[in-house]
């Protein structure tokens, strides 16, 4: 009888498990992703739509299965979708344009903001500001490390 109960319980649980992966990821990383989206696209309705797109996308499951790193997948897919939406919003956006003047001192934080928050490709930053790509990577590392110390 216990086994019968176990099997029916298992079936019920099985039926309810369809969305466990995505929703579990959403529960853990939803706030991080939403915050990231709002930084890129500061419109709540659109940001929520992007958030739903991210966590219901097949890309997320595929990426997670491939790499096993949920956070890296979520950051990557969230940024892709948010920057995609931003480009549609801003029709006159030129690819890889940064909003930092060349006179500004390129601190690790500025380079981090350019690449991570503004989505400027590393190669573009390197050519635009005359910095070697390894130096940009080191600056990003330095910024993450400085944040760790705070």
């Amino acid at each position: 009888m216990n086994e019968l109960k176990q099997s029916t319980d298992s079936a019920k649980a099985h039926a309810a498990l369809g969305s466990v992966d995505s929703l579990a990821l959403y529960n853990r990383f939803g706030a991080i992703a939403y915050g990231m989206i709002l930084q890129i696209v500061p419109q709540e309705a659109l940001a929520q739509q992007i958030l739903v797109d991210v966590f219901s996308s097949a890309e997320l499951k595929h990426c997670y299965t491939k790499t096993g790193s949920a956070l890296a997948c979520i950051i990557k897919i969230t940024r892709e979708k948010a920057f995609g939406a931003k480009q549609i919003l801003e029709k006159d956006v030129t690819n890889g344009s940064g909003s930092v003047s060349k006179k500004e001192v390129l601190t690790p934080e500025v380079l981090f903001n350019l690449s991570y928050k503004q989505g400027v490709p590393l190669d573009t930053i390197a050519s635009q500001y005359g910095i070697a790509k390894p130096d940009i990577l080191k600056a990003i590392r330095e910024y993450v490390k400085s944040f760790r110390k705070l």
């Binding site: 099997s7 498990l17 706030a31 929520q48 739903v52 966590f55 990003i140």
Partner: protein, 139 residues
């Protein structure tokens, strides 16, 4: 470049932040697969990046959870798989689907899924019943 130099180059942070090209991403994944030290650094960095990201985290409205749930297709229903380490050799191998522990019986309001050992048990009870009935009638 040795592993220590590779770790210190900043490529791992850039990988986790999603700011490098797909080719570079593949390279990082291959390096992590080949060198446990790099894999360990990645796992450690992931925790740090999560803390950094939490600084700008904003709780989303409750209805997005419902929307995501509604969007996930019922055809995707599958048993939850345990965490697979992508950088270990075992994780890289294709996982065979586990053998079912239960006989699949159509599951709706009038059917149940039962353990497969119940089948021989029912057959044995049926045969014994017939034997006892025959014995009872004979004697």
């Amino acid at each position: 470049m040795n592993t220590r130099e590779y770790i210190n180059s900043g490529i791992l942070e850039a990988y986790l932040l999603g700011v490098i090209s797909e080719e570079e991403e593949r390279e990082v994944q291959e390096m992590a697969f080949a060198y446990p030290e790099i894999k360990e650094s990645l796992l450690h960095l992931e925790e740090e990046i999560e803390v950094l990201c939490l600084e700008s985290a904003v709780p989303p409205p409750a209805r997005t959870w419902t929307e995501i749930q509604a969007r996930i297709s019922p055809t995707e229903i599958q048993k939850h798989q345990p965490y697979k380490d992508p950088f270990s050799e075992q994780g890289a191998r294709t996982q065979e689907p586990p053998k079912p522990e239960y006989l699949e019986v159509e599951f709706n309001d009038t059917h149940l899924r039962v353990h497969k050992l119940w089948r021989p048990a029912f057959i044995a009870v049926f045969i014994l019943g017939k034997i006892f009935l025959a014995c009872f009638l004979y004697y």
